[in-house]
Symmetry: C2
Subunit: 369 residues, 2 copies
């Protein structure tokens, strides 16, 4: 039978099963249980932050962070147009409006130089997204934020373990959010995490994720909260994963280096970069066609699928999606219009061997011919 290559597979090669079994044996399977605290503690140790607060996924993590930073109806929040839809939607959940920014051509991340022109009296903050694992150039963004009194949330869904000038991603903005979905660097199945050094933000997030319940008074709810809690079983999986975090990060990088080795001299393709101030964790290895149309890219993806190789298109930019396209003009985003149409992610997971990547690259070259 032909070998199939999904775009992602979680690798559960640590104590995950042992810890989950422990949950079941102890009967602590809900959002009460000791793995939650252990996972949170381990997570903030790894990210070098004071707090890490678990939640149900990376989308609810964004919603919680935005609420904790006080985003309300009528506010504006600046985000990159090249991101997964959750970044924009979370702004919308608060009744606020996302304002989109084009990307840098090399890192594909939000272009800091374009941010200030979009700041208005209604702007409350900025969400940056470390796309596909490459850190955003944070210094200029933190400067802009300070100058204008804005908050900065790092959407680090795709970048656990990445570093910016020697600092851990997740420890640089005023808060940061992570996704722990099945395709992420480490996973809890579904899951999310918020890191921050700000006690007040951390406390507010804990209040809001637990229905807004007064910690001292059962069933008394001073504010409107949410049920965005992670379970003990999810945390047990995550804690098992976190014990091997260095291995998980290293594998993504190893796989990306292999793609680079086999594809870098193909002039038809652009590959991801790593800036000299960055540690890219290459959450998803990616390629961009240098020529052609979105149909050409889709055709490549279909042919690879027929050969058992799953891919993902780069995200449709937020400014093209029906709920958001009225907000800004397509011409504002020349960089993303191109890379979003011509980019794709290729299989990226820890158990891919050199032979596997070689085979995938051979097929990529063949279908490009």
């Amino acid at each position: 039978m032909k070998k199939r290559y999904p775009i992602a597979i979680p690798v559960l090669n640590g104590n995950e099963k042992k810890y989950v079994t422990d949950c079941l044996d102890s009967t602590w399977i809900s959002s009460n249980g000791s793995y939650i605290e252990r996972f949170e503690q381990g997570f903030c140790d790894f990210c070098d932050t004071k707090h890490a607060i678990s939640c149900s996924n990376g989308t609810t993590a964004l919603h919680l962070a935005l609420m904790a930073h006080g985003v309300e109806r009528g506010d504006e929040v600046i985000i990159p147009t090249l991101t997964f839809v959750a970044t924009a939607n979370a702004v919308n959940y608060c009744g606020a409006t996302p304002v989109f920014i084009d990307s840098e051509p090399d890192t594909w991340n939000i272009n800091p130089e374009l941010i200030e022109t979009k700041i208005t009296p209604r702007t409350k903050g900025i969400i940056v997204v470390h796309i596909y694992g490459h850190p955003v150039n944070m210094d200029p963004i933190m400067d802009i934020a300070q100058k204008h009194g804005l908050f900065v949330i790092e959407d680090a869904a795709e970048a656990l373990g990445a570093e910016y000038k020697g600092k851990m991603i997740g420890s640089i903005g005023h808060s940061a959010t992570f996704s722990l979905f099945g395709n992420k660097i480490i996973t809890t199945g579904e899951g999310g995490m918020i890191t921050t050094n700000d006690d007040r933000i951390a406390q507010q997030i804990r209040l809001l994720k637990g229905q807004g319940q007064d910690p001292q008074k059962r069933y008394w709810f001073p504010v409107i909260g949410y049920n965005y809690r992670m379970t003990n079983i999810q945390a047990a999986v995550g804690y098992g994963q976190l014990e091997n975090i260095d291995w998980h990060v290293d594998q993504r990088i190893r796989v990306a280096k292999l793609y680079e080795q086999y594809l870098q001299d193909d002039v038809r393709l652009t590959l991801p970069v790593q800036k000299d101030w960055a540690r890219n964790v290459f959450w998803m290895s990616s390629i961009i066609l240098n020529k052609g149309t979105v149909q050409d890219r889709d055709h490549v993806m279909i042919q690879l699928k027929e050969r058992g190789i799953e891919t993902r298109p780069f995200f449709y930019p937020m400014h093209m999606l029906p709920p958001y396209k009225k907000l800004q003009k397509e011409e504002e985003f020349p960089v993303v219009n191109r890379i979003s149409a011509l980019g794709m992610n290729v299989p990226s997971y820890g158990t891919l061997s050199e032979e596997d990547v070689k085979f995938i690259c051979m097929n990529i070259k063949e279908v490009l011919d």
Copy 2:
């Protein structure tokens, strides 16, 4: 060591561990995986509905159902004032306003006779709550809804397995929502489910819980959705629980009958009823003091706690909570003002023996002396 009685413990005495181990061994631990479909199918078979859609918890289940029924900013939704806060909050998440109704003195459920006076041109629907496991008197409510063109959602968080005139709870309203938290009749740790016979509602809920993604087009999002998905591991636990659903329901009823046996002739207490048209599943066994103040009730709870017996106060009514208290006058709710101040839930779970309940009842009587 003194035996301690929590208010609830999940009983995982079926195939839960086997199925969870299967998830981990297969690596299908996210919201992709075959237990999700099996659990949903089993759930709708049990509830006798056409659809059952899993989600992250009972709160997100309510939010999804309300959105699917088209609730929007400016709408009003009628709900009982005696409920867990999630019922009101979910209405608020849609930008709509909850309108509160007092309870019947015997079932503690929404009083159907008080509903029509609260219907305005902005009223979109009614959420009924089968409180503590006793079904709401549905016929008059369905009649009112039909007359005024309103939807009816059953908040069945606390009433899986209950019956109304021989019909399963969850199959009577236009849709119904369930909680699968660790203290519920059956549990997935955290989890929720929505049942409906309406294809359009089911389809809309599936769209909204999966980020609003077009099922035919990856990363294309025609509408603003949410990440409210249940994981395969949660579903595996739930499927294991569901295989023993009759046992789980029977245990709650057995425990309630024991409380009745040992407390029914105590004139200082009121116990839950079961109407002749109802099957009460007694999710939580409960007692109400016939005399005294909220301080007296709290004092009883504190003394029981000192004896190792955990209790829960009846919910603070929605009309008393800070986010909602401006909406309606306290005098409108004489029944709930009394039972909410004087009621409490007592330990209710499948592994309580007759000796345990006898001991708890002896202590209740002692502290009342």
